[in-house]
């Protein structure tokens, strides 16, 4: 199981990855869309956990680009904004949408849910 973790906040994304690792889930983390896309060329990711708001390329945009190349990737969105509009846009295709700050147990629960389908 390969997991892609993208957030522009390095402290957040690295810590989250470490915590997942402690729980036996290994995740590749990146702070920008460019690196993430490059990595996706070599690693077949099953799940991408993306921050919605990122400089240059947003999480939703990244999702679109990943999806075009690798249609099987599942997505979970993280956002600090929590707007209704983001929620609607993110939720249309069944993506999970979590508002920061998130609780790790909740995140893992949602990951498991998504990967099962």
């Amino acid at each position: 199981m390969n997991i892609l973790l993208v957030d522009d906040e390095i402290e957040l994304v690295s810590t989250l990855a470490e915590r997942l690792e402690i729980r036996g889930i290994e995740a590749h983390w990146f702070t920008n869309a460019k690196d993430a896309l490059k990595s996706a060329e070599t690693v077949p990711y099953d799940l991408a956990i993306l921050d919605v708001k990122m400089p240059r390329t947003s999480g939703l945009e990244l999702r679109d680009r990943l999806k075009r190349k690798y249609p099987n990737i599942k997505f979970i969105f993280l956002t600090g904004h929590g707007s209704e509009e983001d929620y609607r846009r993110g939720a249309v295709d069944g993506a999970v949408y979590l508002v920061k700050p998130i609780q790790i147990d909740q995140l893992i629960a949602r990951m498991n849910e998504i990967l099962k389908t």
Binding site: E9, H81, P101
Partner: protein
């Protein structure tokens, strides 16, 4: 009294401060507009009215005055003719006698007595006696009640006058008999150059009768004076016979004259007179002008009354209309100002909302990092056994995570609250919404130890409404209540479903309350009791508008010193009012 009445009826715009400078906010000086309107309308309506009344007044007065003069002149002329005729008649009778009789037959006293009797019979009185006087002035024959035979008149002035002009009519005098009478004497020239005089006394009874029979209005008085100003007949108001007349003798005129002069007391009188030709008599008719003008006074009173009544009615109407219009202008202007303020307030709120959203977003990221770091520390404790399993540290980390979660909740709500959107209908749980709004004010309530209770009836259904507007409505009301309460007060919020399928939310505090006079005005824009403390007076008016926008109603009940209860009724499924199309 007048003051309090004025205070009571004073229009709202009256006490507005007059801003002579500054921005367009006080474009209108309503007092000035009001004064100008009143002055102009009163001017154009009252001036013609007053002018016409004055013209009518003058025309009427002068016509009445000239009529008084005319009627007086007419009576004077008629009476003068009567008296002239009376005297001429008697003069002619004597003239006829001297021509018709010889000196000798007149000298015969029995014959003279018969003539006198015939005269008295034929002329209906007036002739008292009759005598014949020769050229030497000696009374040679006499018939009458006195014994005047042989009396010498040669040195008397009337004798000289009759010798000169052939005829003489005397003043009224008392004579020997002590009765007012006058004398007529005619001279007859004999062919031999000698002459004699026939003389007769007339009583003044006939004059008096003639004059007293005159119908004179206005305390009128008709009498005769002689050219020395001695009354020849008795007058009603100007003295007895043979007394001097109080006014100066009028200048000679061969026509009837009527003047307005002042009597001795300074009162205006109508003075008409005519010289009776060939006699010393002047006929005088005097009327009191005041009495004559009595009917005019009545007319004048009616005219003035009409004028005063018209002016009063016109002024009242003008004042009423001007006040009504200017007040409407003022109210409209207030509404205009209110919408300006609301625009200002709305855009301010919008920018505050955006700012809050930005801040919430910015804070959320560091919060997420703190959350993850603390979580990692906890994980390290839990998963790696090499760290001592210290419960104190775990508790500390749990506390950090819990605090982060609380902060997260607040920022999420803030984000949700500040979101600007048009009326957006969604199903809303009123109880949940109230608790959410209270969470913003929870800290203040805690600090001020205000006891807040929320009671939501189970029957209250989800309502279809606009979340953001509802939040703002209740936040405003709760903030108001907090402002009204002392520390340690009680705020009771309840929601019930009423028979008309409305959710009735009441926000009841035990604060200072609102006075009865203010109660009617609390929803008016700019009505504020805390202008000194920076209140804009817009909070409740905006709340009112928000409630209207979502199709609800808001009422207030309050008692000073006891507390205030705001009641918001929200329709369960009514459509909100459409906002203005853009």
């Amino acid at each position: 009294m007048m003051r309090t009445l004025f205070e009571k009826w004073k229009p709202a715009f009256w006490n507005l401060p007059v801003h002579t400078q500054g921005p367009f906010k006080h474009m209108f000086n309503f007092r000035r507009i009001w004064k100008l309107t009143v002055a102009l309308t009163a001017g154009v309506t009252l001036l013609p009215l007053i002018a016409i009344t004055l013209i009518d007044y003058n025309v009427t007065q002068s016509s009445i005055e000239s009529e008084i003069l005319l009627t007086t002149a007419r009576s004077v002329s008629n009476t003068k003719r009567s008296i002239s005729f009376f005297l001429d008649e008697r003069k002619s009778a004597l003239d006829f006698l001297v021509h018709n009789n010889t000196f000798e037959s007149l000298m015969d006293e029995s014959n003279l007595a018969r003539i006198l009797r015939d005269l008295q019979k034929g002329f209906g009185g007036g002739f008292e006696d009759m005598g014949v006087i020769d050229a030497a002035g000696l009374q040679r024959a006499y018939v009458g009640p006195y014994n005047l035979k042989g009396k010498d008149y040669s040195d008397q002035s009337w004798f000289r006058k009759v010798v000169e002009s052939g005829i003489y009519i005397s003043d009224v005098f008392l004579g020997f008999r002590n009765v007012p009478h006058l004398v007529i004497a005619v001279k007859y020239d004999l062919p031999d150059g000698d002459f004699y005089i026939l003389r007769s006394s007339l009583d003044t009874y006939r004059f008096i009768l003639l004059l007293s029979e005159l119908e004179l209005s206005g305390r009128g008085d008709a009498f005769m004076i002689n050219d020395h100003g001695i009354l020849q007949t008795p007058s009603r108001y100007h003295g007895k016979v043979l007394e001097p007349f109080s006014l100066p003798v009028p200048a000679y005129s061969d026509r009837t004259e009527v003047h307005e002069i002042q009597d001795v007391k300074g009162e205006p009188i109508i003075f008409g007179y005519a010289y009776i030709p060939n006699t010393p008599f002047i006929l005088v008719i005097v009327k009191l002008k005041r009495a004559m003008m009595k009917s005019w006074h009545q007319t004048r009173l009616q005219l003035i009354g009409f004028l005063v009544a018209s002016i009063t009615i016109i002024l009242l109407v003008i004042l009423g209309v001007a006040t009504y219009l200017v007040n409407n202008l003022y109210v409209t202007d207030q509404k205009r100002l209110m919408s300006l303020h609301q625009l200002e307030y709305g855009s301010k709120m919008a920018s505050i909302g955006r700012l809050a959203a930005g801040i919430a977003h910015e804070i959320n990221n560091p919060l997420a990092i703190i959350n993850e770091k603390a979580g990692l520390i906890k994980d390290l404790f839990c998963y790696k056994k090499e760290y001592a399993d210290d419960p104190r540290l775990i508790r500390t980390i749990d506390a950090i995570i819990a605090s982060v979660e609380r902060c997260g909740t607040i920022t999420k709500r803030l984000l949700g609250f500040s979101r600007q959107s048009d009326v957006m209908l969604q199903k809303i749980d009123v109880g949940e919404l109230l608790r959410e709004v209270l969470s913003f004010t929870g800290k203040e309530a805690e600090y001020r130890s205000i006891d807040v209770t929320v009671a939501v009836q189970d029957a209250v259904p989800l309502i279809e409404s606009d979340r953001g507007k509802l939040q703002q409505i209740f936040l405003n009301l709760i903030n108001n209540s907090f402002a009204a309460m002392e520390d340690g007060g009680h705020l009771e919020i309840s929601a019930v479903l009423n028979a008309a399928r409305e959710v009735v939310v009441s926000v009841k505090d035990d604060g200072c309350g609102i006075s009865e006079a203010d109660l009617r005005r609390v929803f008016e824009p700019f009505f504020s009791t805390k202008t000194q403390k920076g209140g804009t007076g817009l909070g409740l008016s905006i709340t009112y508008n928000l409630v209207k926008e979502i199709g609800g109603q808001i009422d207030v009940e309050s008692e000073e010193g006891v507390g205030t209860c705001f009641i918001v009724r929200l329709p369960v499924d009514a459509q909100p009012k459409k906002e203005n199309p853009k």
